[in-house]
Symmetry: C2
Subunit: 287 residues, 2 copies
């Protein structure tokens, strides 16, 4: 085969390319009043949805270009087929349209501006950081009401899922609008962000509240602490955060954690989704 | 909101529904000469593909409506972003067009007819069972040449992935066309099928061959043995199969197994993909 033909085969015209679509999924445009950005919601209903009148748990996930396809396969196998967990309405929130993913997640998932943060995304992303308060309003006051209006969402089984910056976002929701969700699955949360500012946020919350009505599961990979003497102490940070929460004795709060053996920051997400959903919405009927 | 409006919101016209598409993926139609059926190949190239001239490992997976979205997220995070594994060309083989998934996988993934098999799919599926020899010809003589012609596939890094009946299919390939792939990641293989006929297939192969040139990893969930006194002994079967292979001392064969704690048949797949790819194509350069 000549290299010319080879090149042709690899670059067929865009019009001829049929992308892979996830069956039963749909994409809905949504404009955020809270921050003026445009997003998409990726929605997948369980197989039984149109044959029942029941209410379903909601699984809402961020970083959705990665997480939505993955979780859609896991909930299909573990729920619709395997009956180990309840069937769910799965919703992914896209990055803001027209924006770089790293910028979108830095702006929307972090609680405070930290323009010189080490280990973040681009300079532009870091300059835009610290606007999660608006994004939380978007989720709580716009996305969740939209979903509850259009689908049969169980009012006490709303599950937030986030990883890394998305886990930090979940922690921020806990101290801002804890009632927005019932279960929080926080994977490898970036508690290190901005000199561990989330611990200060928690302290302020503790001074004014005796109640924190939420079920929280935090999961992280064993290898996320980094090498000895490294600056990464993510496992230690997570366990310290658990201890801090436990020490407050908040009414309504339950926290559980898991350090998954032999997993990295970039590998632990599928495991934490499986473990988190088995924890939040186990199927009561034996298979 | 009235229930009428509620019903309307849930059943918007199909034309208005925009499904979720996996970015960078494409679907290619392929007709099998071997069995006369029509299939689709779901293809995802790594981000770097069009910016390099290098050859990439191939990950070929069956049960692709489940596996393709899931693995596409895992390889993106673990490979393209995380640099823990090499970047790969991911290819899923669909069920045959127009056929029920249970029928398609029973027909194509099982080595012998077993119309009265317990625990299989529908009666129709069981009646169609036992035609994997044709499907293996389709994969080896049609799909792989097509992929090697159109993409830069590394000739010694072709990875087969299958789970359950798909794991049984992989075992059948080992004794039919072992050279078709270099690595075999066999998840929860259905070695119980047809009175464990795969052990007889292996025995026949052993009588005629001293060589079996393949790297094999078998992974299963701890809970797949079923309760005490259950007929399910899948973990035991897998370990017995490993011992049998080791006892032959085939030239060229390396077998490794893993029993994953706290995992079920319907939950272990994401873990075995991560573990299998870290085993087959670890990235040599440290991050």
């Amino acid at each position: 085969m000549t290299s010319f033909a080879f090149a042709q085969a690899e670059s067929s015209p865009a019009s001829a390319i049929k992308p892979y679509t996830i069956k039963g999924s749909q994409v809905v445009d949504i404009h955020s009043q809270a921050n003026g950005k445009d997003y998409e919601l990726f929605i997948k209903l369980p197989r039984s949805f149109h044959h029942t009148e029941q209410q379903y748990p909601l699984v809402l996930v961020n970083d959705a270009d990665y997480a939505f396809p993955l979780i859609s396969s896991i909930t299909r196998q573990l729920g619709d087929h395997g009956k180990k967990i309840e069937e769910v309405v799965l919703v992914g929130v896209s990055y803001s349209k027209g924006d770089n993913g790293g910028l979108s997640r830095t702006r929307d998932y972090t609680p405070t501006p930290s323009p010189y943060e080490k280990g973040g995304h681009s300079d532009a992303a870091r300059r835009a950081s610290g606007q999660s308060a608006k994004y939380i309003r978007f989720l709580a006051d716009e996305v969740l009401p939209y979903l509850s209006e259009h689908y049969r969402i169980h009012p006490h089984k709303k599950i937030f899922v986030g990883h890394s910056f998305g886990g930090l976002l979940g922690a921020s929701i806990l101290f801002d609008q804890p009632e927005a969700f019932d279960y929080y699955i926080l994977g490898s949360p970036s508690l290190w962000y901005d000199n561990k500012v989330i611990f200060e946020v928690e302290s302020r919350y503790a001074k004014q509240h005796k109640t924190l009505d939420a079920q929280v599961m935090m999961v992280i990979g064993e290898y996320e602490n980094g090498k000895p003497h490294s600056h990464f102490t993510m496992v230690d940070d997570m366990l310290a955060f658990e201890q801090k929460l436990e020490s407050r004795d908040y009414a309504g709060l339950a926290v559980t954690t898991k350090v998954v053996p032999e997993e990295y920051h970039v590998s632990v997400f599928p495991t934490l989704i499986t473990d988190g959903l088995l924890w939040a919405i186990p199927r009561s009927t034996p298979q």
